[in-house]
């Protein structure tokens, strides 16, 4: 096994070569904030909240940066704290996140992250974009107002369920999650109604239809349990 030794926040550790800095830090007992990362899904570095300072380069996304021999990593500096708060503020500013009336209020990773990064108010003005809600699916709904484009739904549907209903469509400020090459979700035959995308959504963007404030059904931790179970089934008898 190829291994490498590095220092994260002055803690020395040795990990398998190729291990991401996010997982390496976790082994050292350091939890780096992230929103798009979910164990079991391919990391994409979409949210940038896991930025860390590496001595050989500028801030890098820990979820998509492999540990390397002799690397010195800092996960919590004034610069990183400022970047993280600014990133969360931009997420709030960019969408329409009204926690008070959101079905995910009290059980939302974005809300929790805002508290964690010390966002006691938003220094940026809201853009208040005009976005739609898709309730065409018989079981689930998608509220684009609350989507932070973490792409967990895209990845879980493609990599775990194998249905590949979701993609990211359009560009720039028009960028949004699309179902079946931009059809109403309910019109997409490939959707197996498994609900994994709803389970892994970090906000209230994907939800069970009919749910009201406080009904949020998101359980991202179930994905890891599901994958462990599958590995057991696929392993030797």
């Amino acid at each position: 096994m190829n291994v490498c030794s590095l220092r994260i926040d002055d803690r020395a550790l040795t990990v398998a070569a190729g291990t991401s800095l996010l997982l390496a830090a976790r082994r050292a007992g350091i939890v780096i904030p992230s929103l798009c990362h979910l164990d079991g899904l391919t990391p994409v570095g979409a949210c940038r909240l896991c930025l860390v300072e590496v001595d050989t380069a500028g801030p890098l996304a820990a979820c998509v940066t492999a540990a390397a021999e002799g690397m010195r990593v800092r996960t919590d500096t004034p610069l990183l704290r400022d970047i993280r708060r600014s990133l969360v503020e931009m997420l709030f500013s960019e969408g329409n996140h009204t926690c008070a009336v959101c079905i995910a209020d009290g059980d939302c990773e974005l809300q929790t992250m805002a508290l964690r990064v010390g966002m006691d108010h938003n220094r940026l003005p809201g853009r208040f974009p005009s976005r739609t809600v898709d309730l065409s699916h018989p079981l689930f709904g998608l509220d684009h107002n609350r989507c932070i484009l973490c792409t967990r739904c895209v990845r879980v549907c493609d990599e775990v369920e194998g249905a590949h209903v979701w993609d990211v469509g359009w560009r720039g400020e028009r960028c949004r999650i699309i179902a079946g090459l931009d059809q109403p979700w309910g019109a997409v035959d490939s959707c197996s109604h498994c609900g994994k995308c709803v389970e892994v959504c970090p906000t209230g963007a994907l939800f069970h239809k009919g749910s009201c404030g406080g009904d949020h059904p998101s359980h991202p931790e179930r994905l890891a349990a599901l994958l462990r179970g599958r590995r057991r089934q696929e392993g030797p008898p």
Binding site: A100, V101, I103, T132, V133, L135, G141, C212, D215
Partner: protein, 490 residues
């Protein structure tokens, strides 16, 4: 609401204090110094009817509860009941009882705020007392027992709301199809334990107010908005006092919206919320964001009606609980079978507090109140829903239209305060004419005019909603001031 000639002198009361929301009053005087007209200008604007469009109807309870921090429960329950219509379900019996329980707690705490905190400083300390002391703190200094009673009643109501919904303000608890959680035995005991003190507090307020009515508030009965007008409220299937209309339109429920003229003749009876558009129309005036609902059949002047505690007590045959019914009888002895004196809204509020406590006590004894079968699940089975409930300040209508997926296409909210708009304007005009006619303008006199509004306990933050329908009046005048052309958008 016809326009009169330009006033010679205008008196403005701005801001209007000890009400919920923002408003000002103008009193226009003619060349001889007589009161030409008095107007309540509601100067805030909300816009819920516009920005709810496009949202799932299931979110309406959480969103519309945010209209108000004083009576969020009224909107919460009415939005949930409108959702019941869209699901086309009958909610479980326990859910209806629990919704009733929360509405009673809401009416109780809101009435306690109105009478004890906002109005009793005037009643107890006097209209002309020092404005520095004529407030809740002055009341605490002058009569700590009364102040404590008001605070305790609000606490009782708010804690009951919190026991049911998990929080005092904006509980996301009532949902289309029922309610989210049950009341447990321990909570039931806790509420029951607070009842004796709550009854004593209401009795204290009642005794005080009736004594003041007998001693030094006699003139106010005739001057603070005493006029003939229709009244509108809910009654139950047997004509008794009713506050929850969530089941109206459901087969076998009975009861409904009743409208009565001040001579006691019935103008409408047994209607459910779907009659709203036939029964009511809304006028707009360029000088206020608050619309003027009226009875369509009678027109904007004769059809202006009153809602709220006095309307509910006027329209019911009886309340249906012994202590409140005794007080209702006494109210009718004071003011007649249909009480037209708006000053007696205060007494009606106190009587309703008693009724709320008696009904809370009765509901707590109901074995179904701790049932856990609380929610009916269904999809969109109707594209339109209307629900009507009694909010503390009067009858509240929510009307939604949705698309096939359940996204809101149109919202119309008719709020109690709006329905009392014309009556509030008549009241302040009556007060201004009576007191200003006597000569010198004084602070105490202006306070009486403000107090005329407080009789109705308006909640202005609840009441201004429509967007895209802003009243607008553009006048083209020549150099001599003559009106050449006029464009009005209502």
């Amino acid at each position: 609401m016809t326009d009169s000639p330009a006033p010679q002198r205008r008196i403005t009361i701005d801001p209007l204090t000890r009400i919920e929301g923002h408003a000002r009053i103008t009193i226009d005087l003619d060349a001889r110094g007589s009161v030409q007209r008095a107007r309540l200008h509601v100067s805030e604007f909300r816009g819920f009817e516009a920005f709810c469009v496009g949202r799932p109807f299931t979110e309406m309870a959480a969103i519309t509860a945010r209209i108000c921090g004083i009576c969020p429960v009224s909107h919460l329950l009415t939005a949930a009941a409108t959702g019941d219509r869209i699901l086309a379900v009958t909610i479980p019996p326990a859910a209806e009882r629990l919704r009733r329980l929360m509405n009673l707690a809401q009416i109780l705490q809101s009435h306690a705020l109105s009478f004890f905190h906002l109005s009793s400083p005037d009643l107890l300390l006097g209209w002309d007392s020092d404005p520095e002391r004529r407030n809740l703190f002055g009341l605490i200094a002058a009569d700590p027992e009364l102040a404590r009673a008001g605070i305790g009643l609000r606490q009782f109501g708010q804690e009951l709301i919190a026991a049911l919904g998990g929080r005092r303000i904006h509980p996301a608890w009532a949902v289309p199809g029922g309610v989210r959680s049950a009341l447990n035995g321990e909570q039931r005991q806790g509420i029951r334990a607070g009842l004796p003190q709550a009854f004593a507090s209401v009795e204290l307020g009642l005794a005080l107010f009736k004594r003041l009515l007998d001693e030094r508030l006699r003139e106010e009965l005739a001057v603070f908005g005493d006029f003939a007008s229709p009244f509108l409220a809910l009654v139950d299937a047997t004509g008794q006092w009713e506050h929850y209309g969530g089941s109206l339109g459901v087969a076998g429920c009975g009861g409904g919206i009743r409208v009565m003229a001040s001579d006691g003749s019935l103008l409408a009876d047994g209607l459910d919320g779907t009659a709203m558009e036939t029964l009511l129309a809304e006028a707009v005036e360029p000088w206020s964001y608050l619309k003027f609902p009226y009875l369509r059949a009678l027109g904007p002047e004769a059809g202006s009606y009153r809602v709220g505690p006095l309307a509910r007590l006027n329209l019911c045959r009886r309340i249906g609980s012994p202590r409140a019914d005794r007080e209702l009888l006494e109210l009718r002895q004071r003011g007649g079978r249909v009480v037209t004196a708006s000053f007696l809204y205060h007494l009606a509020r106190l009587i309703e507090m008693l009724a709320c406590l008696e009904q809370i006590e009765r509901l707590l004894d109901d074995p179904l109140i701790t049932s856990t079968q609380l929610r009916a699940h269904a999809g969109v089975n109707a594209r339109e829903g209307v629900a009507v409930n009694e909010a503390p300040r009067g009858t509240l209508f929510h009307h939604y239209r949705v698309d096939g997926d359940g996204l809101i296409e149109a919202v119309n909210l008719i709020i109690a305060t709006g329905q009392n708009n014309a009556a509030m304007n008549r009241t302040i005009t009556q007060i201004a004419r009576h007191y200003l006619g006597r000569g010198q303008l004084s602070e105490g006199l202006l306070n009486r005019i403000e107090a005329g509004i407080r009789c109705f306990d308006p909640c202005l933050s609840c009441s201004t909603h429509a967007a895209g329908m802003m009243p607008l009046l553009v006048q083209l005048r020549g150099a001599d001031g003559a009106l050449l052309d006029e464009q009005r958008r209502d």
